[in-house]
Subunit: 355 residues, 4 copies
């Protein structure tokens, strides 16, 4: 008898959602995509062409999709605003959940999801921070674990997007939570991975400018921002996020330890080709994050599937996803208010008056 | 109704064969692996564990496998000595064929396969030169096609393996056809791609040494060899092949044109990580060709499948596979005899006496 | 008649001083080293061997050296604490001055030097920020001037030293002014260069740790620190300084503009050699700043000489040297107090109460 | 008393000659440029402006310059055709000689110089192969000496010039000795350095094309050529020379040993700057060999001076300069005739009939 395959439904078939759907359809051998939902007729039309012929049932109603016979798990790639509600509903139907980041831009809502998951410890509930599934970050992490750099002390990490002059990110800023929540949350998650989940912030500073997207000002957001998070155990992370790169996606991380250092993607490249011409030697850079992290998303789908089928631990804790958003929100607050934020050794925020 | 999937059988489940089988099983959405054959009990045992549970029927007899109901295509990954016979048998059963390189180390036998394929133009018969399916080589090829480097004039290409002290390659040399046929055939195939299939060799020189595998001498083979092929239309390719690399696989190609140059993989890397330590900055290198070319094999399986299902042209001509082996064999001859080989403008070999 | 050569005296023959002396002796064709001073017998002994035979008169008294017949200029490479006094004395003797950075760790004292220089506009008085004389930084600056990156918006710059376990830097911290004044002052100077001398800070944040040199705590200094300076015209600089590198000196700068980016020394290297071995591919890194910037010091000596002899403008303003130290001192204050510092649009500091 | 400085005269003030003159004038502390000769009025005019004011006596007659009072050494940077004659004349006047490469394009003439030098063992006579004085090649050589790569087995070395469309090299080809003698002679010299001076060639093959300078055909020369030299002790060198590079000077060497590999300048760069723009990431490349090797020429002048003053051994043997030209001439012969050349184990050439 053929081994059981995980029966998966995909919620959302937009920018990220359709990629998750295709990855579970085609690149996750132990999973079977059986259902997909979108509230958007255009997305459903796409599904009719690319999913339905392969046996995927389409739904325009999320609740109905959850009733799909034999369903084991849901991958949520809808708009951030409905992530949490959909995740909780899925858990209530006893389904495993792989949710696109973030669970929510509201910490309170994030915590509700964590609470819901805690009550159902037999379910696998993961918020996908794709970089944890990237070969190069895994390689770096293993080298840290082997002690190659001594005690990790400084993380420098940046998420820098190619400039998109379409204005998309201006509209998006209205509900994205701000650049630190939307972009740097990945860098913060990596920090929690490399420094340990239990690190406690001591103080947070952030500064930003609006350089190429003046419309961002109306949403109190920035297109370039720099932030520092100091932790109580003698560690510091500093971040740079930007939507202004001319050359493409440039997501770089350095982990500096007492005895060595690791860099990840310091020299971004689109392929192994260099072009030599009268102006010098040029290499191209991926235009988007999916060009950089495509295989990480594939691995994420596969490792999530393994954990569900084999009842093994997920490679990352749901709680971290909340902590990363929380730190991102503090950075954003420090950025917008222009004021440092301080915490005591238990992580409790110290109000300014008490300083 | 679900779209038709290509029904594929895999012949051979050894080093390369089992990878083809898994790629058709798991990473080729439009294909279905339905059967697999191996004459080797250990390989069949592996198949029992990794293929049979997923609906793949196992055979210990190649001819019987060809009778598998509904079969469309065979991927041949057995020992080189049986490639040609198996390919011809498959064609006789009206099956498409994807055959590991080379078709044979004998040019005569290669040509028989080409003849057999010519008689069945409706069949897709491809000899897999994986580098043609590699993203970076595709990128380089597109840049050449766009005219970025003017007229391609010089190809420098090397296939260099990590030193394997096990002695495997000494035994292998008995029937591999020699290093130029076994290793440089990839570089020659790339040359035909970048220079055009119709290039005619003018003269061939080669020199080699036995540096780390003295046992090779008994098979008149070498562990390091350098060769030059001059073509009649003012183009030159030079090759280096080695089985002596300390650091890993290093397959580099440069295409030098009248107005620019392209390099592929000049700086090999295993991941995007650099490790900084008291001795400097180090990056690791893939240990084997599959570490470098895994995704090319996946793409090969998918493009072969597309061509079969859609009856579209294959991305490379079967005849080239013969031409690449033929040039490889001449290089090997020049290497072993220590004598240059010359050709007239029609490609006819000029015997020494007539020089 | 031979062209006039600049008659130069060197004050200080220690770590940096002896290099200045040798550069003026041997590598500055239009200058002639005629005198040298040191209060330290060991340094004088070195001078007896390396300078005296070539016609350089040695002094153990700075004032007497200033009386040396025909003297035109003094290069000051003594301890920081006497830089200012020696510079002012030299000006009083109508001598041009090239002074090692910083003029002083006290802003007040720095300003006195600037005042003294203002009164003698015919004298060339320069505080040597060597990176302004480095080929690569010059190249980057020219590209910015050509508009290649649009409007410079973000500077990221780091000065990172190889870990010196000798304890030297613990003692040194007692009077160095702290890491931001001692190390990052170079990065701040570069910022003033790339952003323009007239930029006005808006707010300053800094955080640091003591990771490998616990003795630094007694001097309220740090071995790793991160700081952000936000300027009023929509520009941001962020800095990292460290004395903990395992691999060597790593001074990196990125200048990010609205239409492109420049990096300087992102991949440090000691030579053009890569070493391929069983652990991968390794390149070495200069162990010290002089390994990275030696030729910049040579160029500095030459350009200073040219300005003196030809009465042409110096390549950098003395006032900037003060401004760089001032910003460094604010960063250090923010680091030590754990509090952000704010400024109004005229650059006047805003006290906390008024926020 | 000031230490004795080497009194040097410069012969030739053209392309290379004026650089030698300036290096001895300004960048060789232990030498003093006292005289210079050129037969060319324009070059003498340059000397009037740049040398005479600094005490250098100019001559339009080589023999007269040799009579210059107190002269110790001559640096010869005139046209190749007079190198040998001038070198021998200088030796006859008991002067040390640093001669630009090659001594001559005629092996016979080269040997006469060597003979003349043998008779005067107290004189230092060096033919300048600048790469032996380059920091990076020195670094590589030291690593080989330390045994880091085991037994050196393969050298790949290329000298590739930026395309000069002026036609200069067509005229130059009339008397340059051909590309292998003019360009690859550096790579051959490096081979002798890395493999040992006593290596005996076994066979030589070469192939070339005229791709961008059709005028070269009249001089039986090529703008791209590839050659292989096999040595009797199990070593192979292969060379590529080109005058067709779009991007600049690209002189690369790889030394491959039984246990590791070294590369020199695999990624040429003009400075440490990378420019990030909408087309990717670009670094510039030096346009000419002096951009790559300037400091090697300076070091050459200094080490030659040291050897003369201290009567210490020169860093390279004069005989090697002949051997390098000899191998270059054989490569050129193999290139032009299209025939391999063979040698017996004593290095005696084996004529074709005897094969």
């Amino acid at each position: 008898m053929a081994p059981k395959k995980l029966q998966v439904a995909a919620a959302g078939l937009g920018r990220m959602g359709h990629r998750h759907a295709l990855n579970f359809l085609n690149r996750t051998p132990r999973a079977e995509l059986v259902a997909a939902f979108s509230p958007d007729p255009a997305e459903l039309q796409w599904g009719k062409q690319h999913l339905e012929p392969f046996g995927v049932t389409l739904y325009d109603n999320y609740d109905k999709m959850l009733e799909h016979q034999g369903l084991d798990a849901v991958v949520i790639g809808t708009a951030t605003s409905v992530h949490a509600e959909e995740a909780i509903k899925a858990m209530e139907k006893n389904l495993h959940v792989l949710c696109e980041k973030p669970l929510s831009t509201s910490i309170e809502v994030c915590k509700e999801v964590v609470e819901a998951a805690k009550k159902r410890p037999h379910l696998k509930v993961m918020c996908g921070f794709s970089r944890r599934f990237d070969d190069s970050y895994r390689d770096a992490y293993n080298k840290v674990e082997q002690g190659l750099i001594g005690r990790p002390t400084i993380v420098r990490s940046q998420t820098c997007d190619k400039h998109d002059p379409s204005g998309f990110f201006v509209a998006y800023a209205a509900w994205s939570g701000g650049v630190f929540v939307d972009m740097s949350v990945h860098d913060i998650d990596l920090t929690l991975w490399f420094f340990g989940d239990d690190v406690v912030p001591k103080s947070i500073s952030a500064h930003g400018v609006v350089a190429v997207q003046p419309g961002l000002k109306q949403h109190k957001d920035y297109d370039n921002a720099v932030g520092i998070v100091e932790f109580w155990n003698g560690k510091i992370a500093h971040y740079y996020c930007s939507r202004m790169m001319a050359h493409g996606q440039e997501d770089v991380t350095e982990i500096i330890g007492t005895e060595g250092k690791l860099s990840v993607n310091l020299n971004p490249q689109n392929s192994l080709v260099n072009y030599y011409h009268s102006g010098g030697i040029t290499r191209e850079v991926p235009a988007h994050y999916y060009g950089r992290f495509e295989m990480a998303f594939v691995r994420e789908a596969n490792e999530f599937t393994d954990a569900c089928l084999d009842n093994t631990p997920l490679p990352m804790k749901l709680r971290n996803a909340v902590k990363a958003v929380e730190i991102g929100a503090w950075l954003q607050e420090a950025l917008v208010t222009g004021k440092q934020i301080h915490f005591d050794e238990t992580g409790k925020r110290i109000e300014k008056a008490s300083l």
